[in-house]
């Protein structure tokens, strides 16, 4: 009843091509972003910031990057953890070795290094597809694990291979309190998400999707597969690299190569599959599902247990968390193979017609 575009006429091409065609959508998203910037910092506790919101924001960004490669360009990648690691360690080296290097520039340079690394490991995509490519990108993961464990130069000769950063600031504002960290991450996320959304709506985005849908046909109509695939790798790795640098710098502040293990690669791929392939919105849903749900279950189960007067042991909770989480993944994939984003758009479609069924 309320959610309907009746009477909203597009009178220019510009109006016709905007991101959110329906006024209600536009207002809702703007309100959501405004709330994330203005309301959330006021009402949220420190725990929510440090343990849930900051990881969620950073992982959303990483999932966004993976979605460009996997969801939009159709190149399955298991090297996302490696791209994050390259971003984090490159940013670390720029930050520590160059005197007076600003944080923002270090993060972006980390992203640039990750992009170069991504292009290098994207080269096999010109020859192999699908599962074979997934295996080939897995090599990136093992290579980065090896590189950061073995080559001491990358970790600034730390005896144990673990590195730490401190004294973070942007334009003289220290990034130390949870609120400042959250706002910093959120700003980067909003800017990058907007950029990514515009990128996938542009010519290059359509090229990626053409390659995803059928690469032979795309080549026949004049799309260069090499250019399209490698730009997808570069853009995606850039975003993932920046996310990785933020994960190390802002969230962990001290990390070891194991922080970017193959687990992270799998998690990111799951985020994209569960959230919805080829959907910017889906990246956020996926990240929320993978990052927030286990923590929620971990705290919610003892609460449920105490309601019925049962005290569940720590290991019991942890096992139950894994079981429920796994079952939910399977259930979601059966019920909605196109991910949570598809559920979202089905819901919107239904709302448009509500209260009439047709």
């Amino acid at each position: 009843m309320f959610y309907r575009e009746n009477g909203q006429f597009k009178t220019s091409y510009r109006a016709d091509q905007q991101i959110f065609g329906i006024t209600q959508d536009r207002v809702a998203v703007l309100l959501l972003v405004a709330a994330a910037f203005l309301v959330v910092p006021v009402i949220t506790s420190e725990y929510m910031f440090r343990a849930i919101l900051i990881p969620f924001v950073i992982m959303s960004l990483a999932a966004l990057g993976v979605n460009i490669l996997v969801g939009y360009c159709g190149q399955i990648s298991l090297g996302s953890g490696a791209f994050m690691a390259v971003g984090a360690y490159a940013a670390f080296n720029f930050f520590v070795r160059v005197q007076g290097m600003p944080l923002l520039l270090a993060l972006l340079l980390g992203g640039v290094c990750a992009a170069a690394f991504g292009i290098l490991f994207g080269l096999p995509s010109l020859r192999v597809k699908g599962l074979y490519l997934a295996v080939a990108t897995l090599a990136a993961q093992f290579f980065s694990d090896w590189m950061f464990l073995r080559i001491k130069w990358f970790t600034n000769d730390a005896p144990s291979g673990s590195v730490q950063v401190s004294d973070l600031q942007v334009f003289g504002i220290p990034i130390a309190s949870p609120i400042s960290k959250y706002l910093f991450c959120l700003t980067i996320l909003v800017v990058m998400a907007l950029g990514a959304k515009n990128l996938v709506r542009s010519a290059i985005g359509r090229e990626w999707m053409a390659i995803r849908d059928m690469d032979v046909a795309a080549a026949v109509i004049g799309i260069r597969p090499m250019y399209a695939k490698l730009t997808a790798f570069a853009v995606s790795s850039f975003i993932i690299g920046v996310a990785g640098a933020m994960w190390g710098f802002v969230h962990l502040s001290a990390w070891e190569p194991a922080a970017f293990s193959v687990d992270i690669s799998f998690k990111l791929l799951f985020m994209v599959i569960i959230g919805g392939m080829g959907s910017i919105m889906g990246s956020f849903f996926g990240a929320a599902f993978i990052v927030v749900l286990p923590i929620f279950l971990n705290q919610f189960l003892p609460f449920v247990g105490s309601l019925v007067g049962v005290e569940i042991s720590t290991s019991g909770i942890s096992h139950a968390e894994l079981i429920i989480f796994g079952a939910l993944i399977v259930w979601f994939l059966i019920v909605e193979p196109h991910g949570l984003a598809k559920l979202w758009s089905t819901g919107k479609q239904k709302l448009r017609l509500w209260p009439f069924p047709h």
Binding site: E46, Y47, R50, D167, E256, A258, S315, S318
Partner: protein, 438 residues
């Protein structure tokens, strides 16, 4: 889902706010790993930790102040550990001390502890250079570090060979878990290798350590005189099985204390006979007074955390001793800030820095014969550098050496150098004598 979560968080915040007024009970958070690849070793540690805290309550608390204990499962994952830390640090009026039981989590929390003013105890693990309390104000690697362990191991083989001069030309291989934990001893072993002229071969094993065929092939080719094992969890038993398969004598293998407990050897049984490991003072202590007290006062009342048979095993004792050190630090702090009163994390830190556990106090606590006196200071956050070697006889661990002391001549310069580098990287200035008084 999110709404529910927010509601839950709001509820928890409300509960937290009401408890904030005047905490009566001392809160000890726990970050164990009872699941995952390292659970076989993580579980007994956590049981010992929790049982000892229960025992303190059964004895009447810390001068009357009772203890609350709450766990949050980390699964040995750094990001989950950070989440748990954030979750627990403000509960019940504020956490007293954290014991992360993982080198990765220790590194991450080292950055957070000074901000939140909560001390970190890493009894026998963590960063070796954090022994330097002038740089690491909030870290306490009480009763041993990896460098100390490595140093004692070198001394032990020197003793076996008949003096340090006999080590010249010997070949030593370090089979280590490829993580910050496993890499910790390398700096010290290289120092010792240069001093005595033995060669050091580094053989990393990838997490979790079940694939070691290539490593042991290299050992078979190089035939080192001794193998040091710096493993954790399944990696240890795998290494011992591989040693058995390649025919490397177990008598020439020495493990760090993480590699010298019952779960590491019991699957191998007879095959591990003769295998040695360094102990940070204690071994398996089923006969000690504290174990008997736990059995009667905690397990006897049906409140024990784990299986009764495991009480007194090596890692169980490790957990109990870690808990004892945490509690005694609070007791020390109470002597200054008010007996029978709740102390903050900041006050507890003072307690850990001024810990003075004499043999008499230890005996009274039931640790007679288990450990030696511990005394910390502003400059030295370790407090004791004694260790023993114990050997697996196929059924149980038994001590096979006298007390050995790590050589401060070797350790101190290395600690100073590495801590200074950390301070320089972080742009920290070391603490002044005035700060030590506070």
């Amino acid at each position: 889902m999110k709404v529910k979560h927010l509601a839950l968080a709001a509820l928890m915040a409300a509960v937290g706010a009401s408890a904030f007024a005047q905490p009566k009970e001392q809160f000890f958070p726990g970050l164990p790993y009872r699941t995952g690849a390292y659970a076989p070793n993580g579980v007994p540690w956590a049981n010992g930790y929790s049982d000892y805290l229960k025992l303190v309550n059964a004895r009447g608390g810390i001068n009357g102040v009772k203890i609350i204990y709450e766990e949050c499962e980390t699964g040995y994952a750094t990001d989950r550990g950070v989440e748990c830390y954030e979750r627990l640090k403000g509960k019940h009026g504020g956490a007293t001390v954290f014991q992360p039981l993982s080198t990765g989590i220790t590194f991450a929390l080292t950055e957070k502890a000074p901000v939140d003013k909560i001390p970190l105890i890493t009894a026998g693990y963590g960063r070796s250079e954090s022994q330097d309390g002038l740089v690491f104000k909030w870290n306490f690697p009480l009763v041993g570090t990896y460098w100390q362990a490595a140093d004692v191991l070198v001394q032990a083989i020197a003793k076996k060979e008949g003096g340090f001069d006999k080590l010249k030309g010997k070949k030593l291989a370090l089979v280590y878990h490829d993580s910050p934990y496993g890499k910790e001893p390398i700096a010290l072993l290289q120092e010792r290798a240069a001093m005595h002229g033995f060669s050091l071969q580094l053989l990393p094993v990838a997490h979790p350590g079940v694939e070691q065929k290539a490593t042991w092939l290299q050992i078979r080719q190089a035939r080192p005189d001794y193998v040091f094992l710096w493993g954790w969890g399944v990696m240890n038993s795998t290494a011992l099985k591989e040693a058995q398969a390649t025919g490397y004598p177990r008598e020439k293998m020495y493990g760090v204390w993480w590699s010298g407990a019952e779960p590491d050897v019991k699957d191998v049984g007879e095959g591990a006979k003769g295998y040695n490991a360094v102990t940070m003072q204690h071994g398996a202590e089923p006969q000690s007074a504290v174990v008997k007290e736990i059995l009667t006062k905690v397990h006897g009342k049906g409140q024990g955390t784990g299986p009764k048979e495991e009480v007194g095993q090596v890692l169980y004792m490790r957990g109990a001793i870690s808990a004892m050190l945490a509690v005694e630090g609070v007791r020390t702090a109470q002597e200054r800030f008010g007996k029978g009163k709740w102390v903050t994390g900041e006050q507890a830190r003072w307690g850990y820095e001024n810990l003075d556990l004499t043999q008499k106090k230890l005996d009274a606590l039931g640790f007679a014969g288990v450990m030696r006196p511990v005394s910390t200071s502003c400059a030295d956050h370790m407090g004791a550098n004694w260790a023993r070697i114990h050997t697996w006889d196929g059924k149980k661990w038994a001590f096979s050496s006298d007390w050995l002391q790590a050589d401060d001549q070797v350790l101190k310069p290395l600690v100073k150098k590495t801590a200074a580098k950390y301070a320089a990287d972080k742009k920290l200035s070391p603490r002044t004598p005035a700060d030590c008084q506070s």
